[in-house]
C-alpha cells in the first residue's frame, strides 16, 4: 500500500517537463556508494491485514474492568464530545498555525485553552502547552535559573520519581545543581544561592500540603527564590484552592486527566502557567489576541515569538517547537463539557470515593494508612501481603494499585491506591473483600 496519487503515465509526463530521464536521475547528487538496493523490511500490507495484525498486538495488552492504579496517569471519564472534536481533520491534520488568517479556528481554540487554564489555576498566564508534566517541570526549573541567574534548585521529596529524574537530566544539561530535601528541612536548606524550590501538591504519596506554610518559609528566608508547583492530576482543582491563590510563581501540571486516554503514558499534556512578570522568559508557544492592521476585526496569532528558537536560535528561552496542541484542544473541550458543575462533581467524587476506600481499609486488621495529611484520590497503604493482594486483584479483573517499591525499594509492602469516579461501588467492594481475605496472612519478611 502507498498513498501516492500518480500513475506511471503521469510520472513520465512530469519527468519530461523536468527534463530528466528517470526518477533515479533526480538523486544524482547522492554519491553512488551510498545507494542501497534492498532494505531488509517487510512487504507492505493491505488495510485489513494491517488492522488484524495490530488488533492482535493490542490484545497482548490487558484491559482491566476497573483500576486502582494512578501514579501520574489516571482513568477519568471522557465525554464523547472530546474525541468528536479532536477527530475533525481540519484540526488534527493542520500544522502549527504559522499562517494566522488561514488558521483562525485553531488559534481561537488555543486562546480559549489558555483562558480556561488561567481561570482554573488562577495563574496570570498559561502557554499553549509543553510535552508533558515532567518536561514542563524541568523547563520551569531551567527558567527559574535563567531568571534568577542562580544555579541551585531544591526539590522537595514527594515529586513523582520519574519527574524528578527528568528534572535532573535537564538540569545536568545546563549545569544546575539539585538537592532533594524533605519539607521539614526546607527552612535550614534555603540560602541566597537557590534559584527555585520545586514541590508537587498533592504529592506523589497523595498528601495535600498547606501551601501557605511553604510560601511563607520561602518568602521570609529567600525572597528571590521562585516557588514552583507541579500537579499530576489537576481534576482536584474542581475543589482544591488554585495555585494562583497561594503565591506560586510557576505552576505546571500533567493534563492527561482532562479528556486524554492513558495510551501507555503518552501523548499527555504539559500545562505551563506563571505570574505575569515572567512572561518574556516563558518557554513554549503563546497565542495572542490582536486586531486587523487595516480593519477592526479581532483575530488570533502566535505571539511573542522573539522568545522562540526559530527567531532567537541559541538565545531562545527553550528549544521547544512542536508541542501537544491537539491534547490542549482535548483538554479545552473536556473542561467545557464538564463545566463548573461537572468539574466540582468529579473532584468531589474523587475525594469521597478515595476517602471511603481509605476508611474501609483502615478498619481491616493489618492495614495501615500512612498519610497523616488530607489526600485527594491517592493514598499510601501498608498491607500484610502485597503479593497476594496484587495477584488476587488481577484474578478479579481489577488493575492493582502501585507497589511503591518500584520507585522506593526501601518501602516494602506499601501500595499507592488510586480511586477515581470510574471506580464503581461494586469494584470498590470487590477490592475491599480481597483486602479482607488476606488480612490474616503473615507479613512478608522485610
Amino acid at each position: 500500500m502507498n498513498f501516492v496519487p500518480h500513475d506511471n503515465k503521469t510520472i513520465a509526463e512530469m519527468l519530461n517537463i523536468i527534463g530528466a530521464n528517470s526518477l533515479k536521475e533526480l538523486f544524482q547528487d547522492i554519491p553512488k556508494d551510498l545507494f542501497i538496493e534492498n532494505f531488509n523490511l517487510p512487504s507492505g500490507l493491505s488495510e485489513s491485514d494491517l488492522l488484524n495484525q495490530l488488533k492482535e498486538l493490542s490484545q497482548k495488552n490487558k484491559v482491566y474492568s476497573s483500576s486502582f492504579l494512578g501514579a501520574g496517569c489516571y482513568y477519568h471519564y471522557i465525554p464523547s464530545l472530546v474525541d468528536f472534536v479532536t477527530s475533525r481533520s481540519e484540526f488534527y491534520t493542520s500544522y502549527t498555525p504559522y499562517q494566522a488568517e488561514a488558521s483562525q479556528g485553531y488559534l481561537q481554540a488555543i486562546y480559549e485553552y489558555q483562558t480556561i487554564i488561567s481561570r482554573l489555576t488562577q495563574m496570570d498566564i498559561a502557554n499553549a502547552s509543553m510535552y508533558d508534566g515532567s518536561t514542563a517541570l524541568a523547563e520551569a526549573a531551567v527558567m527559574a535559573s535563567i531568571i534568577t541567574g542562580k544555579n541551585s534548585i531544591i526539590l522537595i521529596k514527594g515529586i513523582h520519581p520519574e519527574y524528578e529524574e527528568v528534572v535532573r537530566t535537564y538540569c545536568w544539561g545546563q549545569n544546575i545543581n539539585i538537592e532533594t530535601e524533605i519539607i521539614e528541612n526546607l527552612e535550614d536548606k534555603l540560602n541566597n544561592k537557590v534559584a527555585a524550590i520545586l514541590f508537587q501538591n498533592p504529592n506523589f504519596f497523595g498528601d495535600i500540603e498547606d501551601i501557605f506554610k511553604i510560601t511563607k518559609i520561602v518568602r521570609d528566608k529567600c525572597p528571590d527564590c521562585l516557588i514552583i508547583q507541579v500537579m499530576t492530576d489537576p481534576t482536584c482543582l474542581g475543589i482544591l484552592k488554585p495555585p494562583g491563590d497561594t503565591d506560586i510563581d510557576i505552576f505546571v501540571a500533567e493534563g492527561q486527566s482532562f479528556g486524554i486516554n492513558p495510551s501507555f503514558g503518552g501523548p499527555g499534556l504539559g500545562i505551563f502557567t506563571a505570574k505575569q512578570k515572567y512572561l518574556r522568559k516563558m518557554p513554549g508557544r503563546l497565542i495572542g489576541k490582536t486586531k486587523e492592521i487595516e480593519g477592526q476585526k479581532e483575530g488570533f496569532l502566535l505571539t511573542l515569538q522573539a522568545r522562540e528558537q526559530h527567531i532567537r536560535r541559541e538565545k531562545a528561552s527553550s528549544n521547544i517547537c512542536t508541542n501537544q496542541a491537539l491534547c490542549s484542544l482535548a483538554a479545552l473541550v473536556y473542561l467545557l463539557a464538564m463545566g463548573r458543575t461537572g468539574l466540582k462533581e468529579v473532584a468531589l467524587q474523587n475525594f469521597q470515593k478515595a476517602h471511603f476506600v481509605k476508611k474501609e481499609l483502615s478498619k481491616i486488621h493489618g492495614y495501615e494508612i500512612l498519610n497523616k495529611k488530607p489526600t485527594y484520590n491517592e493514598f499510601l497503604v501498608k498491607c500484610p501481603n502485597i503479593k497476594a493482594l496484587i495477584k488476587q486483584c488481577k484474578q478479579q479483573n481489577l488493575q492493582p494499585p502501585l507497589d511503591i517499591s518500584r520507585y522506593y525499594p526501601e518501602m516494602k509492602n506499601v501500595v499507592l491506591v488510586c480511586v477515581t469516579e470510574m471506580n464503581s461501588k461494586d469494584s470498590i467492594d470487590t477490592f475491599i473483600k480481597i483486602a479482607q481475605s488476606i488480612s490474616n496472612d503473615k507479613m512478608e519478611v522485610e
Binding site: 494491517l50 499562517q99 498566564i125 520519574e162 464503581s424
Partner: protein, 478 residues
C-alpha cells in the same frame, strides 16, 4: 467589533448541565472532614454550557481552519503529507488507549516499541533507538546530551557544536540547552558546508561535533557529506543528523552510511502521523553501537522472556520524559511503515523528489531561484526581483486567498525573503498544477495590481493581523 465567532465563554447558562460521570454510589461524608475549608477554592469561574452549543462552536471553528485534508500544504521542512485514516483507527484500539504505562501486562505495547525501533534502525542504519523524545526538538536535546555524556565519560572537555547557518532554529537552541556554545558555519555558494572552513573550525580543539541536515534546508543533498563526517571524526567529533528532511532518503540511502553517529527522526513528518495543529509529535533518536549505553531510560532490549527494560547503568543520560514517549503517535508511525513496506517507502522518496522538482522547474520561470540545481524534497524561492517590491509575506498572504496554504516563509535565514516549498509525495499532479497556476497569477498581479497583494488576504475570515500590536500589548486570555 468582536472576532466573528464569539469566544465560548460568552455562552453559558444556569440550567442543568449534561451529566457525564457515573452516579455517586458510595456514602459521602462532610467535605470539610476530608479537606479543611481553608484549602478549598471559593469559586470556579468556568461556565456551564449546553452540549449543542459547545459542538456548534467547535464545528464552526474547524471550518475556519486549514488542514492537509483541506488541500495542498506546501510548508517547507514540515513534510505535510496525507495522514492515512486507518492509523487513527489503529491508535484508538482499546488495547492501546486504555493501557496504563505502569501496568505489567503490556507486552503488546513493548513489542510495538521494540519492533518500530528495529524498523527505524534498518531505514537509517543506526544500531539502537529510543522512542522516548516527544518531538524533533526534544530528540535534538537528547542527542546532544548523549554527546555531552560521551565526552564527559571520556574525560574530555568539549564545549562547542558546529551548526551551519542553514540549520533549523531548533539546532542552536537545543545545543544551548545541552550546555554547548555554537560555532556557526556559513554555507558556500552551492549551499553546502565549506570543507576548508570546517577543517579550520575543528582545529579549535574543544568541538564536540556537528549538527547537519541532509538534504539541507535548501533541499540540496550535500555531495561532500562523507568528507564532512570524516573531517569531524578525524578531529575527535561526533556527527548529528537532523532528520527533519529524511523523507526523500527513505529506501534510498541511510544517514549511518553518510557517516552520522546520532540521528533524530520526526515521526510526525516522515512517517505520516498527524501534526495535530502543532503536536503531539515524536522524535526518536538513533545511535551507533558505541553510544547505545548513553541512551535515555527506559531502554528496551529483547530477552528470552520477551521485551524488557535494560538494567539501569551509570552512563545513560537519564530520563527525559515520564513513561514511554508519545506512544499514541508511535502506533501510527508503526502502522504506516507496515502498510507501505520496503517498496512503498522507496516510492515515497521518489515521488516526493519528483513533485518538488516538478514545482521547481515550473515556478522558476517567474520566480527567483537562488540555488538552481536538482533539488530533493524541497526548494527555496525568494522575493528578489519581484515586481513593485512585492514581498514574500505579500505573496504568502495572497496564496491564502486561493483557498490553499502558503509555503514556509523567511526561512532558511540565509536566503532573504525565502519561500520554502515542500509539496510531499501525496500531492497529485493536478494539485501541483493548481499551485503553479496560483503562483503565476500572483506574479502577474504583482506587476499589474500590487496593492491587491499588499493588502492580502481578502477572502479569509480576518484580514492581515497586527503582529506588532500583539507583541507590544500581549493579550493572552480573556
Amino acid at each position: 467589533m468582536k472576532s466573528n465567532i464569539p469566544l465560548i465563554f460568552e455562552k453559558g447558562f444556569d440550567g442543568e448541565q449534561q451529566s457525564f460521570v457515573p452516579q455517586m454510589d458510595v456514602d459521602m461524608v462532610d467535605l470539610n472532614e476530608i479537606l479543611p475549608e481553608n484549602l478549598q477554592r471559593k469559586d470556579l469561574p468556568i461556565p456551564n454550557i449546553p452540549e449543542v452549543d459547545i459542538i456548534r462552536h467547535f464545528i464552526n471553528l474547524s471550518l475556519r481552519n486549514y488542514g492537509v485534508d483541506t488541500g495542498i500544504y506546501p510548508l517547507g521542512s514540515c513534510t505535510m503529507k496525507y495522514n492515512p485514516k486507518v492509523n487513527e483507527v489503529v491508535a484508538k484500539l482499546p488495547g492501546f488507549t486504555f493501557i496504563h504505562p505502569l501496568q505489567e501486562e503490556s507486552e503488546g505495547c513493548l513489542e510495538l516499541l521494540y519492533h518500530l525501533s528495529k524498523l527505524l534502525g534498518e531505514l537509517t542504519g543506526m544500531d539502537g533507538f529510543t522512542l522516548q523524545p516527544a518531538a524533533g526538538a526534544h530528540g535534538e536535546l537528547v542527542g546532544l546530551l548523549i554527546m555531552k555524556k560521551y565526552f564527559e565519560i571520556k574525560g574530555l572537555k568539549k564545549q562547542k557544536i558546529i551548526v551551519p547557518d542553514s540549520a533549523h532554529g531548533t539546532n542552536p537552541a537545543s545545543a544551548k540547552m545541552a550546555g554547548f556554545s555554537i560555532i556557526e558555519l556559513k554555507s558556500n555558494e552551492h549551499g553546502e558546508v565549506p570543507l576548508d572552513q570546517l577543517e579550520f573550525a575543528m582545529l579549535e580543539g574543544d568541538i564536540a561535533g556537528i549538527m547537519l541536515t541532509n538534504p539541507n534546508t535548501l533541499g540540496i543533498f550535500d555531495k561532500q557529506i562523507k568528507d564532512i563526517t570524516r573531517i569531524v571524526h578525524d578531529n575527535g567529533g561526533l556527527c548529528y543528523y537532523d532528520g527533519a528532511n529524511l523523507n526523500p532518503m527513505l529506501g534510498i540511502c541511510r544517514p549511518r552510511d553518510m557517516g552520522f553517529d546520532i540521528v533524530h527522526l520526526n515521526l510526525h513528518k516522515t512517517f505520516s502521523t498527524p501534526h495535530g495543529g502543532g503536536g503531539p509529535g515524536s522524535g526518536p533518536i538513533g545511535v551507533v553501537n558505541e553510544l547505545i549505553p548513553f541512551l535515555p531510560e527506559p531502554c528496551l532490549i529483547s530477552t528470552k522472556q520477551g521485551i524488557a527494560c535494560r538494567e539501569k547503568n551509570d552512563v545513560s543520560i537519564g530520563r527525559i520524559k515520564a513513561f514511554w514517549g508519545n506512544f499514541g503517535v508511535i502506533i501510527r508511525a508503526y502502522a504506516y511503515i507496515l502498510a507501505l513496506g520496503a517498496e512503498g517507502l522507496k516510492k515515497v522518496a521518489q515521488i516526493a523528489v519528483l513533485n518538488a522538482n516538478y514545482l521547481k522547474v515550473q515556478l522558476q520561470q517567474k520566480y527567483y531561484l537562488p540555488y538552481n540545481r536538482v533539488c530533493q524534497h524541497e526548494f527555496v524561492l525568494s522575493d528578489q526581483g519581484m515586481p513593485n517590491n512585492v514581498t514574500t509575506e505579500d505573496i504568502a498572504k495572497r496564496i491564502l486567498d486561493f483557498g490553499i496554504y502558503a509555503p514556509t516563509i523567511y526561512f532558511p535565514l540565509i536566503i532573504p525573503g525565502a519561500l520554502m516549498i515542500e509539496p510531499t509525495e501525496t500531492e497529485s499532479k493536478q494539485s501541483l498544477d493548481y499551485f503553479v497556476e496560483v503562483m503565476n497569477q500572483i506574479y502577474d498581479e504583482a506587476k499589474s495590481n500590487s496593492v491587491l497583494l499588499r493588502n492580502a488576504p481578502h477572502n479569509t475570515p480576518v484580514k492581515r493581523l497586527d503582529a506588532v500590536l500583539a507583541a507590544r500589548k500581549p493579550v493572552l486570555h480573556d
